[in-house]
Amino acid sequence: MNVQFKKGVLDLCVLSMLKGSDQYGYELANTLSEIIQISDGTVYPILRKLATDGMVTTYLQESQSGPPRKYYRLTGLGKKTLVSLQQEWLTFSKSVNQIVGGESI
């Protein structure tokens, strides 16, 4: 799929995935790369940026198998941003569909 398409919405995807529960990087990377065919490595820069922007916080948690994992949790700001990004995306994708879908606008 077109890289430019993905770039803009990855933040939204990651934030949305954290809405239900805290997740660790590997988990997020795996799910996301399965659904929208990006390389796993793309997720980490996004997570780091979200953390510096105050959208998520991180904490370490031991696991039964393997090393401790860095979990990501949405902050209040992250939740707020998610809501507005979601709204923007819905409006935007609807408009694009109107054009691409060939319906008259």
Binding site: G25, D40, G41, T42, K49, S65, G66, K70
Partner: protein, 196 residues
């Protein structure tokens, strides 16, 4: 690519970042490898899934630049100057646009900004003085003779009301100025980094 090779290449491509950032980032990728390995994947498979370390590093470098830009919204000129040199867009001559931004800011924006801030400050001083005057008038109520008391009360109340109204107006003026400044800074950054 083995885990060692992948991390080495990542580290090399990130070398312009502060060492603590590089350690943090590499830590994330070490964790990714470790979890992948514990789930029975090979180092080569994990490297392939992660994607080219150089382009991953590129993404980090790009977002770090954004961070430095956002870190100091107050210093417009120094900030655009410092990030601009790093992000010099490939294949496009930005000298003209940059010169324009710098000269425009020095010769035109600076004087306009001083005027606007001066006006705003004097407005605030007016509001505060009116408030002080009003309070002083009310406080001095009993030092004036009977006939003047009504006048003093009215004058005091009038001054306080004016000060409140002008305070509200000032608040909005400051807010709009702030919003205007923000979009002006954004516009400057855009021209500086991307040309006209």
């Amino acid at each position: 690519m083995t885990r060692q090779e992948y991390l080495a290449e990542l580290r090399l491509s990130l070398r312009t970042l502060p060492a603590s950032d590089v350690t943090d980032i590499c830590g994330d990728f070490e964790e990714h490898f470790a979890i992948g390995l514990s789930q029975g994947k090979t180092e080569h498979e994990i490297s392939a899934e992660l994607g080219d370390p150089v382009s991953v590093a590129q993404t980090y470098l790009m977002s770090e630049e954004d961070v430095t830009v956002h870190a100091s919204p107050a210093a417009v000129n120094t900030q655009t100057a410092s990030t601009g040199t790093q992000t010099a867009a490939a294949g496009k001559d930005l000298t003209g646009a940059r010169l324009f931004v710098i000269l425009f800011n020095i010769f035109i924006t600076l004087s306009i900004a001083f005027t606007i801030f001066g006006v705003l400050i004097s407005f605030w001083i007016c509001s505060v003085s009116l408030l002080a005057g009003g309070i002083a008038a009310l406080a001095a109520l009993f030092t004036v003779s009977g006939g003047w008391q009504a006048v003093t009360v009215l004058a005091g109340i009038a001054m306080i009301s004016f000060s409140i109204v002008s305070g509200i107006v000032n608040y909005f003026l400051c807010k709009w100025t702030f919003i205007g400044c923000k979009s002006y800074i954004k516009w400057n950054k855009k021209i500086y980094n991307e040309g006209f």
